[in-house]
Every structure is written in structure tokens, then in C-alpha cells.
């Protein structure tokens, strides 16, 4: 991935030349995904469809 460096990039961070795996980001975003799915299921199927006077026509 060294060709992905731009010409003017400073070379102070050696890590920039290797493939960087954002494993922490993947973990955080997996948590976010789980929260979204659980919250959606609650709001849509329990709160919304459980209410009185569902509009059916």
C-alpha cells in the first residue's frame, strides 16, 4: 500500500507505510450496529405496532 502515500506526505509516522487495520473502529462500530438493530426493533415492532388506532386504510 506504499503507492497510496501522496508525494508530499511527511515520513514521521512509520506506520503510514504499512496496512493499518482499524480493529478498534470495527469493534466500536459493531457495538453501534447492535444498538441500532435492538433500538429499531423496539421502536418499530413494540412501540409503533403496539399502539391504538393503527391506520389501516
Amino acid at each position: 500500500m506504499s503507492r497510496t502515500e501522496t508525494a508530499g506526505a511527511p515520513v514521521d509516522d512509520a506506520g503510514g507505510d504499512e496496512e493499518f487495520d482499524p480493529v478498534g473502529t470495527l469493534a466500536l462500530i459493531a457495538v453501534y450496529f447492535a444498538i441500532l438493530v435492538i433500538a429499531w426493533v423496539y421502536i418499530y415492532y413494540i412501540e409503533f405496532l403496539g399502539r391504538d388506532l393503527v391506520v389501516v386504510g
Binding site: M1, R3, T4, E5, T6, G8, A9, P10, D13, G15, G16, F20, P22, V23, G24, T25, A27, L28, I29, Y32, I35, L36, A39, W40, I43, Y44, E47, F48, R51, V54, V55
Partner: protein
Amino acid sequence: MSDALEADQTFYDKFPAESRVVRSSLLGAFLALTLGAIFGIIQTLHRTGIFRGLIASTDYYTLLTAHGVFLALSFTTFFLAGLFTWAVVRSLDRPLVNIKITWTWYALMAGGMTMTGITILAGLVDAVDMSADVLFTFYAPLQAHPLFYTGLAVFIVGTWLAGADWFRTWLAWREENPNERIPLQTFMVLTTMIMWYIASSAVAASVLIFLLPWSLGLIESVNPTLTRTLFWFFGHPVVYFWLMPAYLLWYTVLPSIAGGRLFSDPLARVVFVLFVLLSTPVGIHHQYLDPGIAEGFKFISMTNTMFLLLPSLLTAFTVVASVEYGARQRGGTGVFGWLRSLPWRDPAFTGMMLAGLMFAAGGFSGMVNAGMNVNYMIHNTIWVPGHFHLTVGTAVALTFMAATYWLWPQITNKPIYSSQIGLFQVVLWFIGMALMSNAMHAQGLLGVPRRTAEPEYSGFDYPVAFGGFEELNVQIAIGGTLLFLSTVLFIGNLVLTMGNPRVSGIAETLRPALSGPDDAPEVLDDLRIWSGIAVVLVVLAYALPLAAIINDGGLFGPGVGTYPVWIDAAAGAIADVTVSAAWSLVDALALLGSRLLDAAVAGVIA
């Protein structure tokens, strides 16, 4: 290119004339923020029933209109104008082509907004037959004073000219650098403005063809569904117009502040292209419960809206990965442990990160808003302002304030007066908004409506869930008060910063991306293609609904009256408008001042 050169010079050193434009734009934004915050705290306390002594409930809607227009249109757009001017000049590393043009658009924007603002605030003064209590959506047949619409039109023309200014500067740069990729920041500015031109054309048409002539009495009536639809044609992409400057900061400034680099320049470009394509053909999702629009059009709009989640979800990944890269560079380890290695003492960093976190929460309520039939549950409840106080009210506003701590020294050579106050301020905003927005969402699920001076009713009580109506009101009031205090601290810190002497050696560098622009397909930079596809998508999404609305109700409505909220005694005062406008501003400010003073005195005595 520019990044290597800029290391020891600030933007102020290199581009003093452009710095002035950026400063003036930001100051315009902060003036709007101050006014908006004052109206905000009055509303919060009034609506929740904590303190209703300052204004009558009928005047609540004047302040609500002002709060919406000053914050959602003025604060956001002026900040955007300053930021984009900075971003274009910095990333192209060349001055604007003609600074006179630049000051012309600034004057148009400022003049237009002043006109509109005066018209709104005149609603507080009974002696003046002028007001615009129509809220920032100005749904006909409620009618504002003509000056309100005129000011909006002038303001929008100002933004168009600003966009032309940035495009022109880019074209001049391209002549000088024929084979270079568009620098990322400029790419973001240009794509955002393409979206803005497409979106604002509809509201400009609505104002110039229908609302303004109607308010002047030239046409008798309008078709409310048509003007509403034209408003939302503009009204959804406008939220991306607020958001794109925040994205620009998250993509291009935040990684450097964190000690990292942008994870992927190509994906950033893809995200902005997706916004150009998808942000406009979705406006009908604000009209899910409109009677005049067929269900099929609503479903198409929902599908587009859901796919519009993609660029934001991709942004979440790219920005967090860029920050994580910084943390790893700073020695961070572990799956979550790296979070400890970030510069949390820096208000610019912490503010932007908290803003991003709030945006993640706002993402959820946005998904609910986007769901077509679930809209029955939350449409026009206070859930909706709960949502957009997370997005525009925090993701955007808090990012702007946080970025100011980083940007202001670069455009003035004056260091921030107090970083500690800055840090406290951004955290306070986060806490205040967490309280207020959470309670607003919860009240929305109880069915509490938005946009009302007194949400309690004589004939019924709200159901109890997630805490009762009253305790949620207290939560909203506490949250709103903290937000007001946070704004005061922000403005105070900035004013004290302006008194600092200029220093040298505070230049900051923005570092290039890990995966740079060379990795991005050339076609991403072909703005003509994306503009063309965007227009086609908009036509596909809107041609049939608009045709159906006009076919059903006619261009000028199916027999609808006119309900001016600006004439008490029917007087054709249009000729006197300019004179009375000036006086009414003086009156309005004096009145507001005296009422605030009264309230303060009452508070001291109590």
C-alpha cells in the same frame, strides 16, 4: 502541495485579505448564534412552564421563528461561508480571484438576513404592522410580510454568488495546475455547492413565483401543497448543507488534531458524491402524512432516504478509523484501550468527538423519521426537534464551536483565551443536549407536539411512560439552561480571545491521507457527470409528484384563503416598510432588552 508549505505560516500570515472574510463570516454566524440562544432559553423555559413571565404565549411563535431562522439558516450558512472560503483558499493555496465579489456576496447574505430578521422581530412590537410569525418553514396560507420573503431571496442569491466565487477560484487554480486532482477540501466545497444550487432552486422558485407575489397581493392565492412540497425539495438537502461543513472538518481537520491522518481520501470523495446524488430526491419523506401526495411517491422517497444512510455510515467508519490511527501513533493499544491515548484535553478534539457521538444517536432517531408508516407515531411531535437538536443542534453546532477553537487562531494569529473554558464549554453542551434531546424524544413518544407555546391541554392528560410529562419538562428546561450557559461561555471565550495580542508560531498543519487522492478513480472528480446524474434523479423523483399536485390543485390552489399574520388593521403599508423596518428593529431590541432587564430585576428581587 500546500500542506508542506503551510507548516510555519498561519492562514492569517499567508492570506490576510481572505482571513478577514473568514473572520467576518464566522462573526456573523456567532451573532446569529447569540440571538438564537437567547430566544432558545426563553422558549425552553416558557414551553416547559418553568417561567412564562417574559413573553406572552402568542409571542412565543415570533421567538420560535427567529430561533429557527437565525440558527438553522443564518448561523449555519455564515459559518459555512467562512469555513468554505478558508478551505478553498487553503487547499488550493491561492487567493480568491476577486475579493470585491467576495464582499458582495457577504453583503447580500448579511443584508438579506437582516431584512428577514427585522421582519420577524417586528412581530414583538404591536405598534408596527409587520411580522412574520410563520416559523422557518413558512407554510402557506399563513402569510408573512413581503420583506420576510424578500430578505430570504436576497440571502439565497448571496449564497449562490459565494458558490460561484469558490468555483471561479477553483477554475483559476485549474488553469495553473492542469493535471492535478482537485484537493479534497475544495472537492468537498464544490460538491456541497452543486447540491445547494439544485436544492435551493426550488425554494427560490417557491418564494419568487408564489409567496412573494402573493404577499404583495399580485396573486390571490397559492396551492399550499405545492409550496410545501417545494419547501421540502429544499428542506431536506438543506440539512446536508448544514452537515457538509461538519463533515469537511471531521474528514480533514479532526484526524490531524488526533495526531492521525485521514484513513481514505477516495472514500471521502465517494461520500460527497453520494450526497450530491441522493440528498435532494428525498424531501417527500417530510410529507409522509400529507393528504395530497400518493403513497407510491412516499415509498420511493423513503427508499432514497434509506440509501442516503450509506454515506453517513461510511463516514462514521472512516472518521473513527482516522482517529484510531492517530491514537495508535500516540502509543494507544488494545481493542478499546486506544481511546485513552487521544488528546481529550483539547477542546477542538473533544468537541468534535462528542458531536460525532451525538450524531450517531441522532442517526437512530433519523432512521425512525425516515420510516414511512412509523411516521404516524412521531410526526410533528417533539421527537422531531429532539432529533434535529442532535444533528444540526449538536453534530453541526458543536463541531462548529469546537473547530473554532482550532481555526480562530489560524485566521487571526491570536491564541484562544482559555482552552480549559473551551473544554468545559463543549462538555457542557454535550450534557445539556443529552438531557434536553433525550427528554424531547421521550415526550414525543407520549404524543407531545412540537412548535407549541403551551404543550399542556385542558381536556386530557398524556399517557405516562419513560417518565411523566412534567418530569420530562424539567429535564428539557435543565438541558436548555446548560446549553444557554455553554453558548455564553463560548461567546465569552471568543470575545476575550479577540482581545489577545497577535503571536507567531501557532501555525497548524493538516496532514495528507493514508490512502491519498491518487487512489481515487479520476471520474470522481468529474463534477459535470455528478451534477448531471443528480439533476436526472431529482427530475425522476419530483416530476410526477409535482405534476400530480399541480394537476389536482392548480398552480394557485383549489380555493384557499389568505391568512396574513402580519396585518392587524388591514393597511397597505408596503410603501412605509423600509422606514418602519428600521424603527422596528430599534424597538424590538429595546423591548427585548427591557424585558430581559425586567426579568433579571425580578429574579434578583425574588
